[in-house]
Symmetry: C3
Subunit: 165 residues, 3 copies
């Protein structure tokens, strides 16, 4: 393979990685609101962690699926909810990446919708091999309410990647 083609392939690969990570994060909300516990859990790697500050820490797919199948989430679904995740700010570093962004849980109550939880999220993702989403999976997702606490704000803080020299 010529050098020109190798360079094109590398640039294409970087775009594919970002697209896969974006798709992975974008799948969470629809799957959660559909109540598809197994598909949600499968976004994580086998021993991945989902940490919701002040609410739960689930490790491994069985525990993550149990959050979606659990009474809190099912009660939300029964009256109506939407897990809206905004676009993420992605930083790629080889086989590891971070993605930062907001999530809003809207809740339907008394015929109206309210923003029930407004949170900061920091996703750590790893490339685990072949498979869906280009092999990318969630290693860790930290979520914390943006209620003025510095810990939540810190999840959104990052030093942007330096340009290649």
């Amino acid at each position: 393979m010529s050098e020109v083609i190798e360079q094109l392939a590398a640039r294409l690969g970087a775009l594919e990685d970002r697209e896969a990570i974006r798709a992975l994060v974008a799948a969470y909300g629809p799957l959660a609101d559909a109540g598809d516990a197994q598909a949600v859990a499968d976004l994580w790697c086998e021993d991945g962690v989902y940490e919701v500050s002040g609410f739960a820490r689930a490790q491994g797919r069985a525990e993550i699926a149990a959050l979606i199948d659990g009474p809190t989430h099912r009660a939300l679904m029964a009256t109506g909810c939407a897990h809206l995740l905004g676009p993420v700010s992605i930083t790629l570093q080889g086989n590891r990446a971070t993605a930062r962004g907001h999530s809003i849980v809207f809740r339907h109550e008394d015929g109206r919708f309210a923003a029930h939880r407004v949170s900061a999220n920091c996703w750590t993702l790893i490339r685990t091999g072949l498979g869906e989403h280009g092999g990318w999976q969630v290693l860790h997702r930290a979520n914390a309410l943006l209620d003025g606490t510095e810990a939540a704000q810190a999840l959104l803080s990052f030093t942007p990647p330096q340009p290649a020299s």
Copy 2:
């Protein structure tokens, strides 16, 4: 064209398709809030359908444009509104694709904003040929309030595509 280049072109084409579909969906909210009825309608294919559960079913560009020009939408615009569509989870299948995600209609009333509608959306898209957005157009958009009804939740449910074997 060598096999290597053909493979690169195919990978690039898949990214372009996802980008075109994302752009198509991302254009809806701004165009709707600008009141540009014809541009909204042109996102759909000629006999495309826009189905808003419990409110309207429009088929064809003239009917879709009439929704944007109609009294309900114009009243929303007059007092202030935002049609925020979240990122979509895209599944490509050749010349057809689906995109799932949330939409929130914010309404301005008495000097405050409220989440007026919080909905699930399932878009079915087709590649119709050359033209804007890589030839992709909306064949069908289903929208339903996430008020606890299973029909709305089902719009967000999907079996993720299997990895190529």
Copy 3:
């Protein structure tokens, strides 16, 4: 470089440009909510403008950083806030681009979250050379409350780019 490869490189470049612009806009909210004034300002080009209708007009990185370090933004952060920016509708024109979309500022008050500002945004971006985000930077961001005023709606209005003939 053969013509086939040149065409692939051009298509790849267009995707990279859109990805860079998307990443630039997606970085704003997390950085603002983390209070990282310098990193926010660095999204703009040196003499770039951030115009918030009815609130402020900042020109140049020092003034933009001062908005994030200023009392209004710091008060929001202290009680809790989220600057959620939706997906943007991007129009590329060589070394210049526009991106249109919504932003929602959620505010935490009395243990609840409310949509404090719901705005239209029109970003004008330019390619300034090498560097982060493929050299893309913000030349101008206009933001206006979607409270029924036509000026805000006009920020979201655009003629979609014509397909290549």
